[in-house]
């Protein structure tokens, strides 16, 4: 700003001089601040994990392991079988990715490869706005519109099903998948496309046989990140999946109510007695969730890392 201001302004010169004399100090202070903030983020993650462990570990001593991985979740009657909850989360998450992956990749391909630049300028911010819709709003929308629609179209007894949850989660994972997949396509060198077209391939063939396969590790990362988003989502899932702790053993359970880990924690944490077995069990679920999310993110990071190490495409 100061360089734009006219030279005759009285306060201009003293300000500048002070700026120059203080520059090393401010720079040091800002650097220190950024460093503290950066490290504190890591510190917070570690502290949260330790807290989770402290509150959750006792359940592994209070409930025998075969009880913890049994099929009945009736916390009021001291039955803490987490298996229906884990499978419920896995079912909803995988279903949501199966829905979101083709949509996401197709959108990314359209935005990156097909759409004219003016359309791209409109689409990209719109997709980013999708990510900003609060999940409780989506959940309410799901409860009042998606669930009845699912019930009527599929003839299911109730619309509060794993499928309704997967639809909402797919919608929520889409922005992540689209942006990351688009970056992956963006990093495919222009020469690949030129080579494809030069060999007589149509635009469609070039996209489908050359560009998308070349960006597949990035697309895999997109899927992993979308999955991480989906498995941890709580509010919308709690509102539309029906929360019945059944064992989803067959694919038919996709169209029946299920109960996820996140919904269980959110629904029951509010009124649980602090320090009780139930309380520790909820944190135990938190640990399982943490480990699952960690593994998914690790897989995503590994995909990125391998891509960089091969050094091919970037």
């Amino acid at each position: 700003m100061s360089s734009v201001a006219p030279l005759g302004v009285p306060r201009e010169r003293p300000l500048r001089r002070r700026d120059r004399s203080l520059a090393p100090v401010t720079e040091f202070a800002i650097e220190a601040l950024i460093r503290v903030l950066g490290f504190s983020t890591m510190g917070f993650v570690i502290l949260i994990f330790l807290f989770l462990l402290r509150e959750g570990i006792p359940v592994f001593f209070e409930v025998p392991l075969h009880g913890l991985f049994s099929t009945l979740w009736y916390p009021t009657f001291k039955l803490f079988g987490t298996l229906p909850l884990i499978l419920g989360s896995v079912l909803v998450t995988i279903a949501s990715i199966v829905i979101a992956l083709p949509l996401g990749v197709a959108t990314a391909v359209f935005v990156r490869e097909v759409a004219p630049s003016w359309a791209r300028e409109i689409l990209k911010p719109v997709i980013e706005v999708l990510a900003g819709i609060p999940s409780v709003v989506l959940g309410f929308f799901g409860m009042t519109y998606v669930a009845p629609l699912v019930r009527e179209l599929l003839g299911a007894p109730t619309g509060l099903t794993a499928f309704s949850g997967a639809l909402l989660l797919a919608y929520m994972a889409l922005p992540t998948i689209i942006s990351v997949a688009e970056d992956a396509l963006d990093s495919v060198p222009r020469s690949y496309r030129d080579a494809g077209l030069a060999m007589g391939a149509t635009q469609w063939q070039t996209i489908w046989r050359v560009v998308v396969p070349a960006g597949r590790s990035g697309i895999l990362t997109a899927v992993m990140l979308g999955m991480g988003r989906a498995i941890g989502e709580t509010m919308a899932v709690m509102m539309v999946t029906g929360n019945a702790a059944v064992m989803p053993t067959t694919l038919a359970f996709l169209f029946k109510p299920v109960r996820t880990m996140t919904a269980t924690i959110a629904a029951e944490m509010g009124e649980v007695a602090r320090g009780s077995t139930h309380y520790h069990a909820l944190f135990g679920i938190g640990i399982i969730l943490f480990v699952l999310t960690f593994l998914i993110n690790l897989a995503a990071a590994k995909a990125i890392f391998e891509k960089k190490r091969r050094g091919g495409l970037r």
Binding site: V45, I48, F51, L52, L72, Y74, P75, T76, F77, P84, M143, T144, A147, P148, R151, P157, T158, G159, L160, R229, I231, G232, E233, T234, M238, M239, G242, N243, A244, A245, V246, M247, K256, P257, R259, T262, A263, I265, A266, A267, E268, M269, G270, E271, V272, R274, L282, G286, L289, F290, T293
Partner: protein
């Protein structure tokens, strides 16, 4: 997102701790200990908060733990008021007398649970044992209970609500609190009254239950009969007050001897102005309270 969940959970926990500490009154305050029924605990808390607002010189600390816990504490003279969702047993009264405590009972509110369904559902009345069979998963289709050829979708409150436990004991287990029946695992557990309302409103297969005060006009209340052959009674403030509606019960506060001073003032307030909170929390106010 999991991060946010855990942070939120952490906040919720620290939040309760914080509010407990901030409720401390001045040194001159009189403290009333009020312990007992988990069904009553939220109502008792609402009363205590409102009353402390009106009378800053009095401090009422409310804890749950169950009716038995509250009554035992009253017998042991560690509290002044016990909350109970059942009457004291003969043994408990004898033990109290032995300890020099004469328990005095006050009915402070009425609790009724309405069974609700979609207005398009033709089923008008069910017996307690039919409702039990529906919720344990024995009756899976409405035509087995005189309705249309449709599957039944079970809705329940979350397992930590007092309504859940009462419904389980009085209806699913048909009055035997330690019976073997459990809610079917296929029961949809809704975390809020709104969840039940919204599903019952638009799904003709659904059956749900909730405190009478939470039932809105766009849901159909089911008339309940104690047993086959008995009359079907719709839940209403009137049928709850005259005792003809089966899924209802009075809620009590017990004091040690006839209360006087601050305790009497508090109970008088509960029985009159406090009935406003009774209505707000979905219970049925006492007859003659005008609320």
């Amino acid at each position: 997102m999991w991060l946010a969940v855990i942070l939120l959970a952490g906040c919720a926990v620290s939040g309760t701790v914080g509010s407990g500490a901030s409720a401390k009154a001045g040194p001159a305050a009189i403290t009333l200990q009020n312990t007992g029924s988990d069904t009553l605990v939220n109502l008792a808390l609402a009363w205590a908060e409102k009353y402390m607002e009106l009378h800053p010189d009095i401090r009422i600390s409310v804890t749950g733990g169950g009716s038995g816990t509250g009554i035992a504490a009253l017998i042991n003279r560690t509290i002044q008021i016990a909350n109970a969702s059942r009457e004291m047993s003969a043994e408990e009264i004898a033990a109290a007398k032995e300890n020099g405590v004469t328990p005095v009972r006050f009915t402070v509110a009425l609790d009724a649970i309405a069974v609700v369904e979609n207005p398009r559902n033709p089923v008008a009345g069910l017996t307690i044992s039919q409702v039990s069979d529906i919720y344990t998963g024995k009756l899976k289709r409405w035509d087995q209970a005189g309705g249309a050829d449709r599957p039944v979708v079970l809705l329940s409150r979350e397992s930590n609500s007092g309504t859940y436990v009462y419904f389980l004991e009085q209806v699913v287990r048909q009055g035997n609190p330690n019976g073997p029946e459990l809610f079917s695992p296929e029961t949809l557990l809704m975390s809020s009254s709104e969840g039940i309302t919204s599903e019952v409103r638009q799904n003709p297969n659904a059956i749900g239950y909730d405190g009478l005060g939470y039932v809105t006009a766009d849901m159909k209340k089911v008339a309940i009969a104690r047993k086959a052959g008995a009359p079907f009674v719709l839940p209403s403030a009137k049928s709850v007050r005259d005792g003809s509606y089966p899924i209802s019960r009075p809620l009590f506060m017990y004091t040690s001897g006839e209360p006087d001073g601050k305790i009497k003032a508090y109970l008088d307030w509960v029985l009159h102005d406090g009935q406003e909170q009774v209505k707000e929390l979905g219970f049925v106010p006492l007859p003659g309270s005008g609320k």
